[in-house]
């Protein structure tokens, strides 16, 4: 597989596994507090995919079109298929997720490249993901 396809594939796998885990939890542990499928949550999933891509896909540049498409489809379709969201929520969540994934990818790569030197090299993806997750949480309430 082309290295630049690792990132969108990682996102699809991360969102799919998360949806499956939530589906199973909701079935077997009714009443459990599950995270809301909102922007910070979507952001966290994007950042997990980006952190996973760092050792696997690095230093390939992402394919922006496929990243956007996978983001829209992944965040729109997968939670809907798992029964976690409704049809009415699927379209806005898909679009928001696709845009968020593109924005976070741009910011993550920019941050990571600047941290990617010396002893911090291995921690650069994790540090960039952590900073962006905090930013997502802080900004989520603006929308």
């Amino acid at each position: 597989m082309e290295k630049r396809m690792v990132l969108p594939t990682a996102l699809a796998v991360v969102v799919a596994l998360t949806s499956l885990a939530l589906l199973i939890l909701r079935t077997l542990v009714p009443g459990a507090v599950l995270p809301r499928w909102d922007l910070p949550f979507q952001g966290a999933l994007c950042l997990i995919a980006l952190a996973l891509d760092a050792p696997l896909g690095h230093p390939a540049k992402p394919d922006w079109l496929i990243c956007g498409l996978t983001g829209v489809l992944g965040f729109g379709l997968l939670p809907l298929a798992a029964g976690l969201t409704t049809v009415a929520q699927a379209v806005p969540q898909g679009l928001a997720g696709g845009i968020l994934f593109l924005v976070l990818t741009g910011l993550f790569l920019s941050l990571r490249d600047r941290l990617d030197a010396g002893v911090s090299k291995r921690l650069a993806p994790l540090a960039a993901a952590f900073v962006l997750f905090l930013a997502c949480q802080a900004l989520a309430k603006l929308f």
């Binding site: 597989m1 082309e2 969108p8 699809a12 799919a16 009714p30 498409l69 997968l78 809907l80 798992a82």
Partner: protein, 177 residues
């Protein structure tokens, strides 16, 4: 070109698998939910089983279901918290004494509002009480989760109001009250 379709293909395949799993688990989910609800109701109103669902009456829109048991009721309420709706089950004796309450469903902020579920101390304050409860008076709010605390208080008051016939929609449970 084919390689570019891999992520889209993985997404669509995953969607199919998830749809199948979701469809296959519908029955189990329903069954587990009913079992869990029955367990909780037996805890909330000790000795109250068996429970029968009552037809909803009254103007209180917070109340979504009422189950009558021996000597009391378990009332399900939905009130708006910080992160979304909070579903609360409250056991109330016919005398109006609250026998227990538990959060059945909620979407609150992790670590703050979600402590309504993981920290039983807040709802334990209501047990044994009669009458309307106000955050800051009868109930100490969850630290950092005042909105959640007030939502829970509204649920408790609605349940108590349903059983006793009192009007629980007073300023004490309104925002900022």
């Amino acid at each position: 070109m084919k390689c570019r379709l891999i992520p889209v293909g993985v997404t669509l395949l995953s969607a199919l698998v998830l749809f199948g799993a979701s469809w296959g688990l519908v029955g189990t989910a329903q069954l587990r939910r009913e079992e869990r609800r029955a367990e909780l109701m037996a805890l909330l109103l000790p000795g109250g089983a068996p429970f029968t669902r009552e037809r909803l009456e009254g103007p209180d829109e917070n109340i979504t279901a009422v189950y009558r048991g021996t000597g009391g009721f378990v009332v399900e309420t939905v009130t708006e918290g910080y992160g979304g709706p909070i579903t609360l089950l409250t056991g109330v004796e016919q005398s109006g004494r609250i026998t227990g309450a538990v959060v059945w469903d909620m979407e609150e902020t992790w670590g703050l509002g979600s402590r309504a579920l993981t920290d039983p101390a807040f709802l334990a304050q209501a047990v044994g009480r009669r009458g309307e409860l106000t955050v800051g008076e009868e109930l100490d709010a969850l630290t950092g989760a005042t909105v959640t605390s007030k939502a829970l208080a509204r649920g408790l008051n609605s349940a108590w109001g349903y059983v006793t016939g009192a009007d629980a929609n007073t300023a004490a449970t309104e925002w900022g009250g």
